[in-house]
Amino acid sequence: MLALALSAASAQPSVPRGLDGKPDFSGIWQSLSGADYGLEPHLATLDGPPGAGIVEGKAIPYQPQALQRRAKNFAARAAADPRNKCYTLGTPRGLYSNEPFQIFQRPRDLTVLFDFGHPVRTIHTNATEHPDGHIDFWLGDSRGHWEGDTLVVDVTDFNGETWLDRAGNFNSDELHLVEHWSFVDRNTIRYRATFNDPKVYTRPWTLEVLLYRRLEPNVQIIENYCATLEYDKYYPFPSSQ
């Protein structure tokens, strides 16, 4: 099902390629990192298992008042985590969450469709630019271009309403994210993201995580509009009783 146009000059072991010769990330992917429980190294809590973290340098370089806000987020996380209100996980949390997502790729864009939540992320790869001004998007505005076999994506226009994990890590609406997507092998993507946010961090920082292709036969994304669960009970199928 993947386009397998053979490229004569591939620097990498054979990976799927589109008809434009670029690596083709189409497929269903999922992180096994547990990073959604906490980006930094953490022991087990009632929320989830321990993890060695995916942040380069271990700790996210918060400004002092931002560190206080993170502590408040953590303490209030059961109610305050936007995920628990079934808001979209946002960018990049949706990529390393515990649920799969699907990438549909064509030359002009990548469509990232998440199991969790409504929104669909579009990464434009047609040499277009961010719209003028600042827009408050849940998923940011993504413009990508290829550097060899690496997709480099520039993301701006965040609304600052999402968290980066369940532990209360966060960004503001001034986040500027730069992502690097590349194949390790045909079933593994290396995803790196560098965060620049002058309202929150003292310097740029980077996380890296692997995304694994879901290989089960007939695997598919299953709609998970959990935002409706709280009021689902008001909409029973009107029965004949």
Partner: protein
């Protein structure tokens, strides 16, 4: 932060009477269904007819399923005022019922189901219980069919898939023949399998939770419903732009006395289509010159991020606070 549960916005109805007899062809009062046949237009590399892009219904409004340009219930005050945007034309001059079969244009409900539909409509403009608020107004997906009765949307195609992106959710049509999801998984937008026959995308949609109504007038089916859909695309050369006819036949012996069919006409949105707040919510992508990019033959148009968060925007004309 958004207040999640206290404030409900009811979605605004589209203007019922527009521009003179559907100027620009976006507010039609009649349409000619596209005939099934060969596809004579462009093909995608995987052999699918190329129907990618932005589209919209030409008879908008998700209010009244059987009288799409008519009032919503006997107590539709805006309609009865008879002025401004909701001025009513006579029934004969309004678009026909979206129900094209049976010929009387009504959903063939069993009597108990008709009573339930009328109850919902009676309280729609005055929802005294939470269940009288249409879930769509609370950002739930529109359901497989009603999603086409609302704003303009986008079609993206890939080997093995046709993907529909609505402001209210999305639908993925699987073309590779994989089996449906297990029967007990009931979804707002169902689970769809399809294939192309000439100019027609033939789809069967199961696993419906059927919580989304078919219109704000309250028509519904059960979670036993099976939906057989056809997306019949005209080929290039249609004056006024590409069109397609959406037909959905609903089978549900627990609610209906016989199957019925909904038909919705649609037209392609291009960079030449005037922007409005309903059919065309796209804009020109920022690109040097805003002409065609190196990849697309036409100027690139985009839509804003499609997100609905309860209470996040000016979605309507009624605000109801619930305790």
């Amino acid at each position: 932060m958004r207040s999640h549960s206290l404030i409900i916005f009811l979605l605004a109805a589209a203007p019922i009477v527009a521009l003179a007899q559907g100027a620009n062809g976006w507010r039609e009062t009649s349409f000619v269904p596209t005939p099934r046949g060969e596809w004579k237009g462009a093909l995608l590399p995987d052999g699918q007819p190329d129907v990618s892009g932005h589209w919209s219904n030409t008879i908008g409004n998700h209010n009244n399923l059987t009288d799409p340009q008519g009032p919503l219930g006997a107590d539709d005050e805006a309609a009865s005022r008879g002025n401004g945007r909701r001025q009513q034309k006579p029934r004969s001059e309004r678009a026909p019922s979206r129900v094209t079969d049976p010929p009387d244009g009504q959903v063939p409900f069993q009597p108990w189901a008709r009573a339930k539909q009328e109850e919902f409509l009676k309280y729609l403009n005055n929802p005294i219980k939470p269940e009288y608020v249409e879930p769509f107004a609370r950002c739930a997906p529109g359901g497989p069919t009603k999603s086409f009765e609302w704003h303009g949307y986008e079609i993206r195609q890939f080997p093995g898939y046709v993907v529909f992106l609505f402001d209210s959710g999305n639908r993925v049509i699987h073309l590779d023949g994989k089996p449906h999801l297990p029967e007990n998984l009931k979804l707002w937008n169902g689970d769809s399998r399809g294939h192309w026959e000439g100019n027609t995308l033939v789809v069967d949609t199961t696993n419906n939770n059927s919580k989304a109504r078919l219109g704000r007038s309250g028509e519904f089916v059960s979670e036993n419903a099976m939906i057989a859909e056809q997306f019949i695309f005209s080929t290039n050369g249609d004056p006024g732009g590409d069109r397609f006819t959406y037909e959905a036949t609903y089978t549900d012996p627990t609610v209906l006395t016989r199957p019925f069919t909904i038909t919705i006409p649609n037209r392609r949105v291009t960079d030449k289509t005037p922007a409005d707040d309903w059919n065309n919510l796209t804009f020109l992508a920022k690109h040097e010159g805003s002409g065609p990019t190196t990849i697309e033959a036409e100027p690139a148009i985009e839509a804003y991020e499609r997100v609905c968060v309860e209470g996040n925007g000016n979605h309507g004309q009624v605000v109801v606070e619930t305790k």
